[in-house]
Symmetry: C3
Subunit: 315 residues, 3 copies
Amino acid sequence: MKHYLNINNLDNLQNTVQEAIELKKDELKFSELGKGKTICLLFFNNSLRTRLSTQKAAQNLGLNPIVMNFGSEGWQLEYEDGIVMNKDKAEHVKEAAKVIAQYCDIVAIRAFASLTDKEKDLAEVVLNNFKKYAGIPVVNMESAVGHPLQALADAISMEEIKVPHKPKVVLSWAPHPRALPHAVANSFVEMMQLQDADFVITHPKGYELNPEVTKDATIEYDQKKAFESADFVYVKNWSSFNDYGKVVCTDEKWMIDADKMSVTNNGKFMHCLPVRRNVVVADEVIDSENSIVIEQANNRTYAAQIVLKKILEDI
Amino acid sequence: MKHYLNINNLDNLQNTVQEAIELKKDELKFSELGKGKTICLLFFNNSLRTRLSTQKAAQNLGLNPIVMNFGSEGWQLEYEDGIVMNKDKAEHVKEAAKVIAQYCDIVAIRAFASLTDKEKDLAEVVLNNFKKYAGIPVVNMESAVGHPLQALADAISMEEIKVPHKPKVVLSWAPHPRALPHAVANSFVEMMQLQDADFVITHPKGYELNPEVTKDATIEYDQKKAFESADFVYVKNWSSFNDYGKVVCTDEKWMIDADKMSVTNNGKFMHCLPVRRNVVVADEVIDSENSIVIEQANNRTYAAQIVLKKILEDI
Amino acid sequence: MKHYLNINNLDNLQNTVQEAIELKKDELKFSELGKGKTICLLFFNNSLRTRLSTQKAAQNLGLNPIVMNFGSEGWQLEYEDGIVMNKDKAEHVKEAAKVIAQYCDIVAIRAFASLTDKEKDLAEVVLNNFKKYAGIPVVNMESAVGHPLQALADAISMEEIKVPHKPKVVLSWAPHPRALPHAVANSFVEMMQLQDADFVITHPKGYELNPEVTKDATIEYDQKKAFESADFVYVKNWSSFNDYGKVVCTDEKWMIDADKMSVTNNGKFMHCLPVRRNVVVADEVIDSENSIVIEQANNRTYAAQIVLKKILEDI
């Protein structure tokens, strides 16, 4: 594998999930693979899980991580071609990407959606410019439109539980006071499209995700009906895609509570975290035995580690 | 040892001090002990000595340090139970602590007192919530009410000098333009309570420390009288405990100068640093041969290293 | 070598350049040299190339890097002697430097010119105080008046191309919207004074560099005339030295374009980066085959590595 920008960059999701589960049993097995090699982790946005788990994964592979908060520690980047750079941007991504590639073997990037410029967000300006100019493998640590390391960790988490039948998986929108990006939801949908499952998306009208991502996925506007017999309920807030970046509904009735979970098939509660308790999900649900959010976070290490392993093997 | 939250978590202070002095002679002796293990250093506040010495100590033990400025790089944490999280806090400590524990074997935390909410500060909300939820060893890198790594370094520094009699040790308040926490003073008092010494605390009226910490310690309001025949003078500013977090006196006469030191028994000047010259202490004292502030800072490495060694041996 | 504060700290520039070129062919050859030793990288200013390349160089030598953003993560430092520290500075450089030296074997520092206090800038207050008090080797990662790691990388880059005659090298000022320091230009001039070359400096009147640095260097106020037959054109903006820190001209005609480069001897375009495209240099020049800016950035690693190697060999 050259880059990991999207879950579809994996040759085979199911095999990768199995390999990650194997790796988790003996996480230092390939601790010589990255020796003498360096990964730069560039953060244009805050992070807890991604920051720690990707460093941990790199170190498990003997790969040397250099972490940089690009916003506060580096220079503001220009992404436009042919522009006269006499304003606030001190460096062009053409130079920045090529320069960073002189110092490391892999570059991992976190750069959230603006939620103000739909066209730019959809074009994945940061990630694609680094891919174009750096010439080294690029890993997506959550971009404008995707979070494929999270989606891979989610796939690992579901496989570890494995229900003895074709599972029913629900992706449910939940309320949130702020406008959030679509990245996690998009990558979860894309990952589910590679799985043999009964997959349903539920959200209030107006929260339809990008139809180029959801394609022919089932959308059910009645949340409780969607939850019926679900084996996994994956919860996430996102802002409107049509009315781009807007909060068009904050209906508290969409919060996940025990009553809604009661119609599932003893369903597992999933969330990528951070999560706002008693806004997105009631304490009674996230604190229940059926909540697997901590194990999802744990699997972020092994998702990153299997991805970095595949990239290192191809360098 | 499981956690190191307080100097009293040590089985035996005197033995630990001796072990640290041994370690200092051969600091890479246990460089295999932490191999393949990770410590997360979480900073909610600024730091120089703690940041560098704890990293150094970890590396001396082969332990991999991951440093995170939690305030600027992560998410704002909620500590209240059962709250509806629809304001500015994006993540609950319940998740944050459990998640961080997925990526490391030990977590070390710096979270200063607010000095505005006495009850919360005394409850050690940050440290105790991490202890409660993380499930891995927690190390105090200065909390609301204690700084036991500093106190252990101070004990090492006094032992290295060792006077040939029961020492007289004075903890003296000194003026400062800002309101400072009680953590360093508290831990120094608690450490002295484990020592065979003649211990006196001196400060202006109104600066009494928490009586649950000082217990039956001798308090002498006449600073110069307190200094008489002292072998060690430990200086620190703190704000009022009774009139919580307030600066109730900035009397310049309390600054430590050569005249005051002249009544000591050739006493050593100690301070945890950073220190404001010519406010807390006159140049003539901190620059004298009797100032051991740099060696105290040096011993921060060995205090942290012996603590981490004991924790690693118990994991 | 004890310290690396200035290009003149090198015993012999030409030999050092050859050693760096050898090191570049086998960058992990001395990966045991720094084992068990630590370098602190202190950043008082932002950085991309210096931050990444110095870490990379340290790791190539087995040296353990600890990075600290001194401004945001530490305490504000006082540099004046004998001052009453009752304002905003919490720690004196005397303590900070000595303390940092307890935790590392080498300290590298980036502290830009203020451009407001000429006397202080020329006195290299930060660097010289650390040199005076730390007692361990100090490396300049760009100070008020010099950037000798950049100058060494530039020397390496020119040697790699090597023209078959005494080269003509031009240092050209170029326009920029902001006031920039003289550090890069100064160190380039000092490096060129150690080379057998025909060296010309060109800039608008009013942009004369410090005459104590340029000494008897040729200054040509006609930029195009200066460029005639040049083998290397090194471009950099700087603010006025006489009218200290002021932008006295932003004449767009001084931008480097293909027309100007056409009168050179197939000259190479050089810049330390970051660079503002179409302000300092036209896209057509920086994107041409004759632009060697990326290789200059690459050579920052080997400049830092040869410097650290020499220091480690002398500890």
